[in-house]
Amino acid sequence: MQKKEMIAMLLAGGQGSRLGALTTQIAKPAVMFGGKYRIIDFPLSNCVNSGIDTVGVLTQYEPLTLTKHIGIGIPWDLDLTHGGVTILSPFVTGKQGEWYSGTANAIYQNIRYIDSYNPEYVLVLSGDHVYKMDYAQMLNYHKQKGATATIGVIEVPMEEASQFGIMNTDSDLKVIEFEEKPAQPKSNFASMGIYIFNWKTLRKSLVEDKEIHPDSDFGKHIIPSLLNAGEPLFAYPFKSYWKDIGTIEAYWKANMELAYVVPEFNLYDDYWSIYTNSDNFAPQFISNTANVSHSLISKGCEIEGEIYNSIISPNVRIEKGCVIKDSIIMQGTIIKSGSILDKCIVSENSVIGDNVRIGHGEDIHNHDKPHVYNSGISVIGAYTTIPDNVGIGKNCEIVGNTTHEHYPNGYLPSGNSVVLKGGI
C-alpha cells in the first residue's frame, strides 16, 4: 500500500466545559464559529490546504453533531479511497472498553490506524483552535532542524504565560525545558497543542508511557519523557492569528472581531479557504423592515428585524420588530417578533418566543457557575425554547424547553440558570 509521508490526528473529544451551555449537547470542536463554520473546520481545512489527505478525528464527548458534520469528508475533499477522513471513537476490545483517558492515550489506542498508513511523521492537532496555518512549512522546519518532535508555539503576553504550557528554548529554538502552567514563567512561548513527531519515536514513547501513566498526556508525560531521553525537540514559533476559545467571553470576542472592517483573522481570502458543510441552503434575504449594520450573516437567513454588531449562522429567522445587538445566533434558530437580545449567545435550533427580552438587568455573576458566566453574556443552549413575553437578565444560562413556570413574574433575574434535562 502507498505510504503516506505525514498523516494528521485531530483530537476532537474535549467537552470545553467553560463554554457552558454551548457544549451541553455539542463537543467543543463542533461549536459554530464565525457564522457558518464549526471550530473543527479550521484545523481540517488547514490540513487539506497543507496537502495532508489523511486525517483521523478522535471523538469522545457528545459526538453526534461532530460526526454528522464531518460525514465522509466531502466538503474538505477528504472522501478518498486511500486515506481521507476517519472518525476514531473509543472502542471495546476483548471484554473491556476503554475511554480515551488522555491526549497521548487517545493516540496510543489508535496506533493500528496510524500504522496502516506507515507514515514517516504524525501531526497531532487539537480541534479546539481557530487559526490558519500551513503545516507543510512546519514539516519543512521539522526536517531542517533534524527534530524528533516539533511543537508549535505562540508568543503570549508574559503576564498570561502562567496559564499555558511553556517551552523554554535555547537561541536555536531547541527546547530545553517544558513547564506546564509555571508560576514564574521563564519564557512566553506557549504550546499551541500542535505537534509533529517522527512516528517511530512517538510510537515507542506511547507504548512505554502507557505502562507508567494510564492517563498518558502529551504535555505532562510524552514531551518531558522525550526531553529526558535527550531527543532533539524544537519549538516552531507561529506568528499569526491563533485563538484558543476557552471561555464564553473569549468565544464572544473572537466572533465579534470578525465583523471589523479589516479583521485580524480574514475569512475573505481565496488563498486559504475554510471549508464547511452548509452550502445548499437558500440565499439570504433581507426584507424591507430589516436594518443590518456591522454584522456577518450566513446563507438561508430570513431577516425582518434589526441586527447590529452580531454574527448570524445559516438558516436563522429573525422576525419583524426584533432588535439583535452584540449577539451570536447559531444555525436554525428562530427569533420571533418583537424580541430584543442584547449581548447574548443563542445556540443551534432554538426558538425564542415573541417579545422576549434577553440581557436586560444587573451585571451579576451566575450563582451556580460564576467561573463560566461572568462577562455579562447570557447563553441559550441548543434545542431550547423560550416562551413568549418573558425577560431574562445577564449571565443567565437556559437549556431545554422552558415554559412560563420557569420565569416567575415573567422574569429570570441576572445570574440565574434554568437547565432542564432533555427527555427523549
Partner: protein, 369 residues
C-alpha cells in the same frame, strides 16, 4: 424510480444577448447562487431519477465546469450520474444536433443501454419545482404513451410557445408549435414522459425520415395515433428566454411565497458548493428587500436587488432593482439602477449605470467602467 432523465441544453438563446455570448444558457446564473440547470437537476434528483443525460452543443465550457462532479446533486453513484453529451463528428452529417429529437437520436446508445422503463425529458432553462413521481404516476394511470407537462397561462403570448388543446380527459387533440393564431392558453413546458422502448422506436423512425423535432415530428404528428396526455402543472414557472425574463425571474426571488415554493416546500435547490464566508454588512450600510450571497461585502445601499457571491459594494453607492452576478466590484458613490451586471464587472467611483424598467441596462462579463 423507473426513469432516466434527459436534459436538453442545446438551443442558442440569442435573445439573452451578451449574457449568452460566452456561456450556454443552461449555465446562466440566477437567484444569486444558482445556475439555471440546477433546477432541472434538483427536480430529477429529488424525484429519484438517478441517471441523467445532459445534451448540449453551444458554449459548453461553463456548463461542463458546473457539472464536472455530479456529487453536488446527490448523483454520481455506482450506477448513476450525470452524462454530458456534446456532438461527435461521426461523419459529415453529425457536426451538430439538428433538433430536439435528433439530439437524443445521436445519443440513442444511452437509451439502449439503460434499463429503466421510462424516460423523462426536460428543458434546461426553466425555473420550477416539480415532483416527477407524481407525473409518472399520472402517466401510468392514464395509460398514456406520452405525457406532456403544461401550464395554463392566459397572461403570456402563446405565439412563442407550444400550445396544447385537450379533451375533458386531458387527452391531446391538437398541438401547435408557436401558433400564429393560438386556440388555447395551455402552454407546453417542454417536459415529456414516455416509455423508453417507445422513444427509441420513434426516434429511429424519425431518423429514417430525416425528421428532427420532438414537438413537430412526434407530438403534433402522432397526436391521433398515440395516447398523448397533458399533465397540468400549477406551480411557479419561468423560462429564461430573454433579458426581460431573466431580470423578472431574479426579482421574483424577492417574493416570499415564491422563495417558499422554490426553496422550502420540497427541498433546497442543490448546486455546486462554493465555500464562501458569510456576508459582511458594514457600519452604516443600508440593505432592504434584497437577496445576498456568500463573500459579499456591503458598505453602501442595496434595495430590491439580487446579489450573487463575492460582490463588493463601496461606500455611498446606491444599488436598486439590479441583478449583480458573481465577483463584481462597485466603487464608492456609484449608482446602479435597473441593470444586470454580468460576472466580474468592475465599476469605478462615482459612476452612473442607469437603465429603465422597460430597457434594462446590461453590462457584459469582465467589463471595467
Amino acid at each position: 424510480m423507473k426513469a432516466v432523465g434527459i436534459i436538453l441544453a442545446g438551443t442558442k438563446k440569442s435573445r439573452l444577448e451578451v449574457l449568452a455570448s460566452h456561456r450556454n444558457s443552461a449555465a446562466m446564473p440566477v437567484g444569486g447562487s444558482y445556475r439555471v440547470i440546477d433546477f432541472a437537476l434538483t427536480n430529477f434528483s429529488y424525484s429519484g431519477v438517478k441517471t441523467i443525460a445532459l445534451i448540449s452543443q453551444y458554449n459548453t465550457r461553463s456548463l461542463a465546469d458546473h457539472v464536472s462532479s455530479s456529487k453536488w446533486w446527490n448523483l454520481g453513484r455506482k450506477n448513476s450520474g450525470i452524462y454530458l453529451f456534446t456532438p461527435d463528428m461521426l461523419n459529415s452529417d453529425t457536426l451538430s444536433f439538428k433538433g430536439t429529437a435528433d439530439a437524443i437520436y445521436q445519443n440513442i446508445e444511452f437509451l439502449k443501454k439503460s434499463s429503466e422503463k421510462y424516460v423523462i425529458i426536460s428543458p434546461s432553462d426553466h425555473i420550477m419545482r416539480i415532483d416527477y413521481r407524481e407525473v409518472l404516476k399520472y402517466h401510468v394511470e392514464k395509460k398514456a404513451d406520452i405525457t406532456v407537462v403544461y401550464k395554463n397561462m392566459p397572461e403570456i403570448d402563446a405565439r412563442n410557445y407550444g400550445t396544447l388543446e385537450l379533451d375533458e380527459q386531458y387527452r391531446l387533440t391538437d398541438f401547435e408549435e408557436k401558433p400564429l393564431e393560438p386556440q388555447t392558453t395551455n402552454i407546453s413546458l417542454g417536459i415529456y414522459v414516455i416509455a423508453r422502448e417507445l422513444l427509441i422506436k420513434l426516434l429511429e423512425d424519425l431518423a429514417n425520415e430525416g425528421r428532427t423535432s420532438i414537438a413537430d415530428d412526434i407530438i403534433t404528428r402522432y397526436r391521433k395515433k398515440l395516447r398523448i396526455y397533458g399533465y397540468k402543472f400549477e406551480g411557479y414557472w419561468q423560462a429564461l428566454k430573454d433579458i426581460d425574463s431573466l431580470y423578472a425571474t431574479n426579482l421574483d426571488f424577492l417574493n416570499p411565497d415564491m422563495r417558499d415554493e422554490i426553496f422550502e416546500k420540497y427541498s433546497y435547490v442543490l448546486t455546486k458548493a462554493k465555500d464562501d464566508p458569510p456576508v459582511k454588512y458594514s457600519q452604516g450600510c443600508n440593505v432592504k428587500n434584497s437577496i445576498l450571497n456568500g463573500g459579499d461585502v456591503i458598505n453602501g445601499t442595496v434595495h430590491d436587488s439580487v446579489l450573487s457571491r463575492k460582490v463588493f459594494i463601496g461606500e455611498g453607492s446606491y444599488i436598486k432593482n439590479a441583478i449583480i452576478m458573481e465577483g463584481c466590484t462597485i466603487g464608492k458613490g456609484t449608482v446602479v439602477e435597473n441593470a444586470i451586471l454580468d460576472k466580474s464587472v468592475t465599476i469605478g467611483d462615482g459612476k452612473q449605470i442607469i437603465g429603465t424598467p422597460d430597457n434594462i441596462k446590461v453590462i457584459p462579463k469582465g467589463q471595467i467602467i
